[in-house]
Subunit: 368 residues, 2 copies
């Protein structure tokens, strides 16, 4: 049996003010094509379908449509859990009906212990949970962290193991020893909030979500799918995609999902990167992070950059910014008009015109 | 065939700071008992299941649980539309799966024209919609209001009529000539936003939601179910409940749903209503609106009242409030400490003690 493993869709996310929905829809279309081409028998989505518990209606429409497409149009069994970015009660809406078409959605800890059997494999769908939920469920006040809480969770799953089946855990947590990247929520990512890898030994494969880099954990049978799209300039060099797991051999392969637009990082002086000879060589319709080697102030910088690089996500300076203003001591005893005139002259190299001076005086008077 | 008609649950609503969820859950339990006792063959919910499009997780859990109970535990077909208080995309989550158990949920105008046939009746489930949606759907820019938009909507439904069936419209709008009460959102309730009754003539019965008083419209075949619970002191005298529609005879009966707590309105002086001889005769665990006949200021009024009437929703005064402060002109030139001292003396009849004066001076100094 061949199962596609994906996670961390984060539908509804934005990047530097850009709506990622069209990007995510293209990546989803590519995922769907992979599922078709690879003749998969089911799809694991290991949490964080949404970026926010209180998702916008457009995000709700998108997730609903994606799940409907895979399950009802393409007839694929779905194995889905809620992640820490999902609202479990909201995501759970309709879940009692979904299993009629082999769409298995678990959002509560109690649901984790009822395996879903497809073909040769038992799937245990463990949603993201807080230690307090485990304390209530197991009636054990000692389960004060995820590492402690996970032990009885795994024990209870192992008690359900059918000996003639493979055993796959689908979960959303921080596996001990993982590395993390800039686009993840920086909470619960270490120490006692990490799950020790040896606890996961009973499983033939652990299909994880939570970390956005598929290389985050270095263990053969324990894999993060990584996010479906890049979320942050720190992920520029990562390859995003999905795993295809073969449950017979318990081997997997990674299939890359093209990023449109992709992320690129360019570096140079303002004059260089705004030169057509330069930017005609660049995929300017990418998400572009720019490192400027100039040090001077450039007026309307982002407006100018986005005329060439419409999806510019941000600018940093290789050598900082030197302004005559910051070099000079500011005489804080000057009145606001004099300060403004000095600032204008320092940054523009020319004096205020009499018309500009009049506007500025009027504006200052209005403020006061 | 016998169909229960309810509407306007508004799950998630509060009243004077009180969570109505327990009240709504008790009313729902009573509704469920009515459905059982009356051997109904289905349940119409004519919109506004939620009070807000962005409902709290507790409200989402409650609505999900109610729908699951009626449809999956009790095996009742459900005929449900979204109202103006529902988020159509959020409510629609899972709807493609629901019809597998005869749960029909329509949230988009396009879905209104595909009748649901149960027994001897075609049900047309018309969700709440804005004129702009009708303009887009019919590609007709002249549909600038609900009255205009409803004509082609009804025409398209009539074209689907099976001649050997009854025809019931389930909808959520303001029917022309209706009266409305204090708990409804005061928008779109008149003029061109009202649906003329003669447009509804083709139907054997029109099961409406939107207005919270079941007597809002005076037409035999066109009925508001009214809200399931009272939402406002203006509804104290209303009886809340559900209709049972007999589709063979097209007759209906109203079955009252008890309100626990109910609303009451009491009137008297503070001394009278706080006298045990009085309040032992009163259902003090009701939502109590109080009209005081006193005119003087009563310190900590609500705190005192709620010791006897824990669900006091509000207090009004039959004859206004007379205070020595409001009778006297305030000398606005006094400094804050002097103003405070004067206010204290006016309202309490005694001067500030030296300790109080010291506290007040310190507090004023802190503020400044």
């Amino acid at each position: 049996m061949r199962i596609l493993h994906t996670a961390d869709w984060h539908i509804g996310r934005t990047l530097a003010g850009f709506d990622l929905l069209p990007v995510q829809q293209r990546s989803f279309a590519a995922l769907r094509q992979v599922a078709h081409d690879e003749h998969v028998d089911g799809v694991i989505i290991a949490g964080d379908l949404y970026d926010r518990g209180l998702a916008a209606e457009s995000a709700v429409n998108t997730v609903n449509s994606m799940l409907r497409t895979l399950n009802r149009e393409d007839g694929l069994p779905l194995l889905v859990i809620s992640g820490n970015h999902d609202s479990a009660p909201r995501l759970a809406t309709g879940s009692e009906w979904f299993s009629s078409t082999k769409f298995y959605l678990h959002t509560r800890l109690a649901e984790a212990f009822e395996p879903v059997t497809l073909g040769d494999t038992q799937f245990f769908l463990l949603p993201y949970f807080e230690p307090a939920m485990a304390r209530a469920y197991f009636e054990d006040d000692n389960l004060t962290n995820i590492a402690a809480a996970m032990a009885p969770v795994i024990d209870r799953m192992v008690a359900q193991f059918a000996p003639d089946k493979r055993h796959v855990l689908v979960a959303h947590f921080f596996a001990a020893g993982s590395t993390h990247s800039g686009s993840e929520t920086p909470v619960n990512v270490g120490g006692l909030d990490a799950v020790p890898l040896d606890l996961l030994a009973p499983f033939d494969y652990v299909a994880l979500g939570h970390l956005h880099n598929r290389h985050a954990v270095n263990a053969d049978r324990i894999q993060y799918a990584g996010s479906l799209v890049k979320f942050d300039v720190s992920e520029t060099e990562q390859r995003k995609g999905v795993y295809i797991l073969d449950t017979e051999t318990m081997t997997r392969k990674f299939i890359e999902i093209p990023q449109t637009p992709d992320f690129i990082h360019i570096r140079g002086s303002f004059a260089e990167i705004m030169d057509p000879d330069f930017y005609h060589q660049v995929a300017t319709d990418s998400f572009v992070q720019i490192t400027l080697t100039d040090t001077e102030v450039i007026p309307d910088l982002m407006i100018q950059l986005r005329q060439v690089y419409p999806y510019c996500t941000g600018v940093d300076r290789a050598h900082g910014v030197q302004t005559s203003v910051t070099d000079k001591p500011v005489d804080r005893h000057l009145d606001p008009m004099a300060l403004l005139a000095q600032f204008y002259a320092d940054t523009n190299g020319t004096e205020l015109t009499s018309e500009q001076r009049q506007w500025a005086q009027q504006a200052l008077a209005d403020v006061q």
